[in-house]
């Protein structure tokens, strides 16, 4: 023991000594000259110091351990120790012991620990010598030589054995302690064996036998179930999988059967979602083609397919065609449902569907023909076409408010706050954007900033939030975490979001006070976003286990995560300093995709996968739902992350201003290629989604076979009746 403590102290001194020397040397070097050579050597020295410190630390821990066990062994009486061991013997060991107790095995333990101690000394000694040699050399080297590559390489080469030496020392120390530990244990084992063997104590034997019996006890496995065969007379077992095989993808829970939705309403909702799906596939095909044009600008020379005309086709089609129709479809389910009353007018619902679809059809054709409103983003449809959309919105608003007026609940559930407010705001925004009284000169730009951001925040975002406030608690089968937080987010969203439009024109000719308000409002968005996302995430509390076994919840989860990150990214983009770098670059494009795709689309998909099985009684294959989810998520990341990275560098290039503009175009090429790749994955996921929707409409599954059998029987009896 004494030996060991001394050994420890000795090695610690050696190690610390070398470390100190090294750091001293490093300082002198750093003072003399700073070039690559010195930096390299500094790094190497730091590495050595770190390594030796690690060795020292390990050594001290190990010695402490050994000392502790040694002290314990001294303090504990032999009997106590052995009784402890007795209790830890397992059944097999006891059996063996009882079998062989008449034999008297004689084990002689001998080990020369001296040997390992010698090795340890030798190593430490050698390494010190080695260190001394090494440090002696570079200090005699003139500092100017450190810039010579030959010298640097030589020094590096010299350092290699030092490293090797230290590592060897580490290994040796560890193995020494292991051996020491083993020695102790063997000794202990020998004593214990003697204790067990010597007196042939009857007491020991009975204890062991009792212990063995206890250890060998097993349950009969039918203590609770009894011996009767299973009979589920209460119908508790559902969704029994009778042909279990090795699953290729994890099996998720099936949608729970709920009370039927009126078939007429179901039809309307399915038409909304169906047309939305159509526009999603078409709109993103256009987007995909646009992404390709960044990489291959000469892919076609057709005026109707040129970039400038197709870009608004893409944005408007996915905005009004896909997202709006999808949201309206889900809204027509949620609004009556949470009011516990039928939809006020199915007819109005159908007219909404016609008007919005007509607007997208005519809008698309007119944009491709080159007829647009004047270049303001997302209001490229000329007013007669936008009017169709607005009529659809007005009809929806009347319909929803009438439905809510008929509600049988006292309160208006928060979903309906969001959904109806979104519809009101969308109408206001459209009017502000299209009425001609304030659109001349810079007025147009101020309206444009207001319009393009309110469209996203007050229409898409608010409506979708309303949908989430209904479907998320419903899918988790528990109430929303905090109703009040939802209300706080509602008013905060209105107050702050309305102000932020002009942040699209920071540093432009728009008045400074307006720009400042926009930036402040963008920061204020922290409140509704934090309130909303916290509320959603906390609703998951205690129900996280449901996520892996559900195929709708992952969509919600991704949507919530992007709601938080995407919205706060918007806040970060609004600051003046970030505007310098990111404005006018593809960063905006990446951000808008994170927002419109990561948040809005994922929420809509989650809602669709939740509601359509309830309307049709059929579910999509889980494999293709999984494919849709992962392709969309990975595609979005491939799309947005390279674009953000590349455009940041591009922005910095512009700020620096040393290079011609065209070089920033050339620079973006690889990132645009990544965008096209990510876009392709997203597009592929939409094909899966369309297939899933088709399967939910007309797929066949086991439930259906049952249904058909019953129907056949019905028919059979009916025909039997008539023939009789």
């Amino acid at each position: 023991m004494e030996n060991l403590t001394r050994l420890k102290k000795l090695s610690l001194t050696i190690i610390l000594g070398t470390g100190f020397k090294a750091s001293l040397y490093a300082q002198t070097v750093a003072n003399t000259k700073s070039n690559i050579g010195t930096w390299l050597i500094l790094c190497l020295l730091t590495a050595i110091v770190l390594l030796t410190l690690i060795v020292a630390y390990r050594l001290s821990i190990k010695t402490n351990e050994v000392r502790k066990t040694a002290r314990k062994a001294e303090n504990d009486t032999e009997n106590n120790r052995f009784k402890k061991y007795l209790n830890t013997l397992d059944s097999k060991q006891i059996e063996t012991f009882l079998k062989i107790k008449n034999n008297k095995p004689k084990n002689v333990f001998s080990y020369k620990s001296i040997k390992s101690i010698c090795i340890l000394f030798l190593i430490t000694f050698l390494s010190t010598i080695n260190n001394n040699l090494v440090f002696a050399q570079p200090t005699t080297t003139p500092a100017s030589l450190l810039s010579e590559w030959g010298i640097i390489i030589t020094i590096v080469l010299i350092f290699i054995p030092v490293f090797a030496g230290i590592i060897f020392m580490l290994v040796k120390i560890t193995s020494f302690f292991k051996k020491y530990q083993k020695l102790q244990d063997t000794h202990e084992a020998k004593q214990f064996a003697e204790y067990l063997n010597n007196p042939l104590d009857a007491e020991v034997e009975t204890t062991l036998l009792k212990r063995k019996k206890a250890l060998d006890y097993t349950l009969t496995h039918n203590e609770l179930a009894g011996n009767l065969t299973a009979d589920d007379d209460k119908g508790l077992l559902q969704q029994v999988n009778t042909h279990a095989s090795l699953p290729f993808v994890s099996l998720k829970k099936k949608a729970l059967g709920r009370y039927a939705v009126e078939p007429d309403l179901a039809k309307l909702i399915l038409w909304f979602i169906g047309t939305a799906t159509f526009w999603l596939v078409l709109g993103t095909s256009v987007g995909e083609y646009l992404g390709i044009k960044f990489v291959a600008p000469d892919v076609d020379h057709v005026s109707w397919l040129s970039f400038g005309r197709l870009r608004p086709v893409h944005t408007n089609m996915v905005f009004w065609g896909w997202a709006s129709l999808g949201m309206l479809g889900l809204g027509h389910y949620v609004v009556p449902k949470v009011g516990n009353t039928p939809l006020a007018s199915l007819k109005m619902g159908w007219y909404t569907l016609y008007f919005v679809n007509a607007s997208v059809i005519f809008g698309t054709i007119s944009l491709m023909a080159g007829i647009n409103n004047g270049g303001g983003e997302y209001r490229e449809y000329i007013w007669p076409i936008a009017l169709l959309l607005a009529i659809g919105l007005v009809l929806t608003l009347i319909n929803f408010i009438k439905t809510i007026a008929n509600r049988t609940t006292k309160e208006i559930y928060i979903s309906n706050w969001y959904i109806v407010a979104a519809t009101i705001f969308a109408i206001v925004i459209t009017l502000v954007a299209y009425l001609p009284f304030w659109q001349n000169g810079l007025g147009e730009t101020i309206v444009q900033g207001y319009y393009m951001h309110q469209g996203v925040g007050m229409w898409f975002m608010m409506f979708t939030l309303g949908i989430v406030y209904y479907f998320l608690p419903q899918q988790l089968n528990k109430p929303i975490y905090s109703y009040s937080l939802g209300i706080l987010a509602f008013w905060a969203q209105i107050i702050f979001y309305t102000l932020i439009g002009t942040h699209h024109f920071v540093f432009s000719a728009i008045p400074w006070w307006l720009q400042t308000i926009a930036i402040v409002g963008s920061t204020g968005m922290l409140i509704p976003v934090a309130a909303g996302s916290t509320n959603f995430i906390l609703t998951f509390k205690g129900a996280w286990y449901k996520v892996p076994s559900s195929y709708t919840l992952p969509f919600f989860l991704v949507g919530i995560i992007f709601y938080f990150t995407g919205s706060l990214q918007g806040t970060a983009e609004a600051f003046k300093s970030t505007n310098l770098i990111w404005h006018f670059t593809d960063f905006t494009v990446a951000h808008s995709h994170i927002a419109m795709y990561g948040i809005i689309c994922f929420f809509i998909w989650a809602g669709i996968y939740a509601v359509v099985p309830r309307l049709t009684g059929k579910e999509a294959p889980q494999v293709t739902v999984g494919a849709h989810f992962w392709l969309a998520l990975i595609g979005l990341l491939f799309y947005s992350v390279p674009l953000m990275y590349g455009s940041t560098l591009k922005g910095l290039m512009w700020v620096e201003g040393e290079k011609p503009f065209i070089e920033s175009v050339v620079f973006m090429a690889p990132y645009w290629l990544w965008r096209a790749i990510g876009g392709s994955l997203m597009w592929l996921s939409h094909l899966f989604f369309a297939y899933n929707f088709y399967k939910m409409l007309s797929g066949s599954n086991v439930n259906n076979v049952n249904e058909m059998a019953i129907q056949n029987l019905n028919k059979f009896y009916a025909s039997a009746d008539t023939t009789l």
Binding site: G375, P436, V447, I662
Partner: protein
């Protein structure tokens, strides 16, 4: 709360709150800016052709990639001599009964800003070739080709504007490429895009976030070691090309050019500062006063000239900034009508 259990009060409150904020942050400032700004006194109104050209610009969605705003930040200095102000957009009125006002400020700068393109690149020949297929003149460009603004004709009328297109870009079509009226209107619009000088005595708004010019920066005109190659890419390459060969029948080569190789730099400085129409008869386009239009300093001009004089196998005497400065002063007087 009872107040919010009534759908009328709830939605009316939300609507009014939104409306008030909308008026405060959008309608009121929009009206104010619309009514309180007028075009600058010396601003030139768009010609009839340019108005038609602007319609083409809107129709083709050019605003998707090209901004028309010089922000008041230092990095935007390359796009204009002063930040854009509200008055610059005041002349934009409602297009017609169907279409809204188009200030065309834009939100994406995938391509260059066009606020000052009429000054930076005034050549009609260049714009037409560029519109036919941008890659003819800028190899790395990803701008779409606007082929449908052109016709291929065997019989050329005297009034037709012929566009110079190398054979590999014709895609098998024969005959001469003729610019349609739409193409000419569009170019007229682009040529009209120039920043208006503020009336005398009006202080120009400042560019913010000025960065200290390091002595070896290419943006620092007094840096004696300017990168002539980079300046050439920015100011000359679009016409004279990276290989100095120019474009056959449109832009003359600098490689082996008599004027470039001439050890007396006077004519070369004259051309850079005042433009050139001396070889129009050979089919070459009129060259704009690139140096004057872009406010190039003697240092910058010397760097460009030395790059041209020593590249692509050219080998003639280099010029010094002082020499160029003298000549610049000289040709400036010469260019002024007496």
């Amino acid at each position: 709360m009872e107040f919010f259990n009534n759908h009328k009060t709830l939605f009316l409150t939300a609507f009014l709150l939104f409306l008030v904020l909308t008026i405060f942050v959008c309608i009121q400032p929009a009206i104010k800016n619309q009514n309180n700004n007028a075009p600058l006194p010396n601003a030139i109104a768009l010609s009839d052709d340019a108005v038609k050209g602007k319609a083409i610009f809107i129709k083709e969605g050019c605003v998707a990639c090209h901004t028309q705003q010089v922000r008041n930040v230092d990095m935007d200095k390359v796009w204009g001599s002063r930040p854009s102000i509200a008055a610059d957009y005041a002349a934009n009125l409602r297009t017609d009964i169907w279409r809204n006002t188009a200030t065309l400020m834009g939100t994406e700068r995938t391509g260059p800003d066009l606020t000052n393109i009429g000054l930076r690149q005034p050549s009609q020949a260049w714009h037409l070739t560029h519109l036919f297929n941008p890659r003819i003149v800028v190899k790395e460009s990803i701008m779409p080709s606007y082929k449908w603004l052109f016709n291929a004709k065997e019989l050329v009328l005297k009034t037709d504007v012929i566009v110079n297109v190398p054979e590999e870009y014709l895609a098998g079509e024969t005959g001469k490429v003729i610019a349609t009226d739409d193409a000419l209107y569009l170019v007229a619009y682009l040529q009209s895009l120039q920043q208006t000088k503020l009336p005398d005595g009006t202080p120009e708004p400042d560019f913010l976030y000025k960065k200290p010019l390091t002595t070896n920066s290419n943006q620092n005109p007094s840096n004696p070691n300017l990168d002539g190659a980079a300046l050439y890419v920015t100011h000359c390459q679009a016409c004279h090309q990276a290989d100095g060969e120019g474009l056959k029948g449109a832009f003359p080569p600098l490689k082996g050019s008599k004027i470039v190789l001439d050890n007396n730099p006077e004519l070369m400085v004259d051309i850079i500062m005042n433009g050139y129409a001396g070889r129009v008869k050979e089919g070459y386009a009129v060259m704009a006063a690139v140096g004057t239009n872009n406010n190039l300093t003697a240092n910058q001009v010397a760097a460009i000239m030395n790059h041209e004089k020593t590249s692509w196998g050219n080998n003639s005497l280099k010029v010094t900034p002082t020499q160029v400065q003298k000549l610049m002063d000289f040709v400036k007087i010469k260019s002024k009508p007496q």
